[in-house]
Amino acid sequence: MTTDRTIAFVRTEDVPAMPPPPNAVGPVRWIKDNLFATPANSVLTILAILAIYMILNGTVPWMVNGIWASPSLAVCREILDGASGACFAVLGERWNQLLFGFQYPADLYWRPGLAFVLLFFAAAPVLFFDLPRKLLIFTALYPFIAYWLIWGGSIFGPLLALVGIVAGALFYQRFVKNSFAIGFFGAIAVAFVVWTIGGAILPDGGITEGAMRSVPSRDLGGFMLNMMLGVTCVSLSLPIGIALALGRQSSMPIIKLICVIFIEFVRGVPLITLLFVANVMLGYFFPPGSGVDLFLRVVIMITMFSAAYIAEVIRGGLAALPKGQYEAGDSLGLDYAQAMRLIILPQALKISIPGIVNVSVGLFKDTTLVSVISMFDLVGMIRGPILASVEWQGVYWELFGFAALLFFITCYGISQYSQWLERRLATDHR
């Protein structure tokens, strides 16, 4: 073989890159890869497009043709004149009833509105722990402010409740070092003493005139009621659920027995049964007219219900922790409370977040069940007064669509927050 062959051509630089063939790049490629990769895929894609088309074909003209100004369904139909179209006018005329119920005084709508806005400020430091801790003071005050805004009446009622709790807390701080039992039960006793004395001294809370006049619980309704029940019950049931979960794990037999019986009993009963008990049975135990407020009865029942579920979710989180974590706490010389607070619960709660959110979202939607005990929440308003009015009977899709939209916004918000929280708390290296 010779080595000094004349070389006719040597490429000294790279060939310029050709553009890829048009079907291997850009939207065409994406469509090919994602929508028509295999024959089965193609069939599914076509079916899905057909389904979407049929849905949109039905709903878009219906939405676009929607009538927003009309005094009644009959007039809507006259305007539409046979064409397909929604009658959104019902939302325009009854929006206040959907949001606040039909009995809340119209000139006081700003009060629950303000309470709703303040809710975000109160919830923010709890939900986003990067915010300054000082904001938690407002969170602690919020329940009293919200109560005063929504129910109205004398400011002394909520103030007295606040003073009682503060007095109890001070007592607890002072005496808990000697003995937990003295501190805890003494604090409760002190709070009750303050409430009793204050209740005797202060004038009766009802105000009948003016911007802060009292609104009875019976007059609450609409989506406001769902929000109030949802927020109150979720925030109450979380600490109770934690206590129940720890109690169930406890080595003290009586505490454990009480917790197990409570959880198993409440979980074994449908929520609607508990609501009927709240509405109907409790009415028999109090003299007529002097019973405990229906709203409070319902809050207690729903809180019990969701606390039992949350307890089980958290127990799952506790069980998922390796035994070594408990032993680590013991070996550091931490007592029970410290070990739980510093080592066990932070990890267990982190594991339980999806479950807790699941229960919370479910609970929030379950608040619509109160419509069967003749409380006028959002669904109760639609099914009762609005669909029973001469003007609007026969309007279903618009009203229930609106209700679904409100619930979706809220529940989707909760879900998005929980996913953010999981990412934020992710300390493992997956």
């Binding site: 039909f102 028999y284 007529p288 007219g289 005990i373």
Partner: protein, 339 residues
Amino acid sequence: MKKTAFYGALAVAGLAASTASAATLDDVKARGVLNCGVTTGLVGFASPDANGVWNGFDVGVCRAVAAAVLGDSDAVEFVPTTGKTRFTALASGEIDVLARNTTWTFSRDVDLKFEFVGINYYDGQGFMVPRDLGVASAKDLDGATVCIQTGTTTELNLADFFRSNSISYEPVPIETNAEAQQQYIAGACDVYTTDASGLAATRASFENPGDHVLLPEIISKEPLGPLVRHGDNDWGDIVRWSLNALIAAEELGVTSANVEELGAAPTGNPEVNRLLGTEGELGAMLGLEADWAKSAIAAGGNYGELFEKNIGENTPIGLARGLNAQWTDGGLLYSPPFR
């Protein structure tokens, strides 16, 4: 109209427990407000309007009683009740009177220990079919699919009717009236059956009411009336005679327009005088003011006026008087005499 032994037991337990409210009249007067149980919403019978003010035929009864007792037709606290909570609300004393299109039946009267004080609407179960079906009588409905609310007396009535006429049907069970309307409109069933007043109200909400006909057969008796607890006959008398006053007023030609004039001074008709308190002591016998009936009639008008305003032929619901006409016009309304 659903009723289970459970609620029956509750009601009985409630009666045993609540002996406190023996003198309902005193309680109502002390409270200054009548607690009246109504439905959470039934077209024409009771529903709050856009301003939250309750209106309707049953509501009119509540207002008349409040006017008779307290002299003020607005002194009513309307307590909305569902089919499931209505009896316990009454038995527990939460409400003083229940005016909620409740059918007067033997077991409710006797077993649940309530007292029906009269009948303010004679209803009955009817059928609605699309006009296209070309059916003129319920007896032609052999093999039809029927939308029927489960767990109600209407379901049992339907089975009885078809069996006694030896024809067959296929039930489409549904839960609520709203669902029934949707199913019927969507063509899931040929026939929708429920109380005739409900059918009329449902038909009125359709886009083309003329495309649907109500069949002439009424297959059950559904006398609807206000009721009170057993054990306080004085209070029962007051509610009974308030209702009778509305009915008698129509018979005697006393309306909300002329009641002031007729009640100002004795007229030539002694029964009108006794009713309106310008003669005799009827009000005092009930423990009420002499002009109790005058107030009751002035509240919303006599029976006929209430009917016309809320469910009559000039409203979208468009119910004819039918059985609910005065006995002098061939109906069943027949108030005992005021003397």
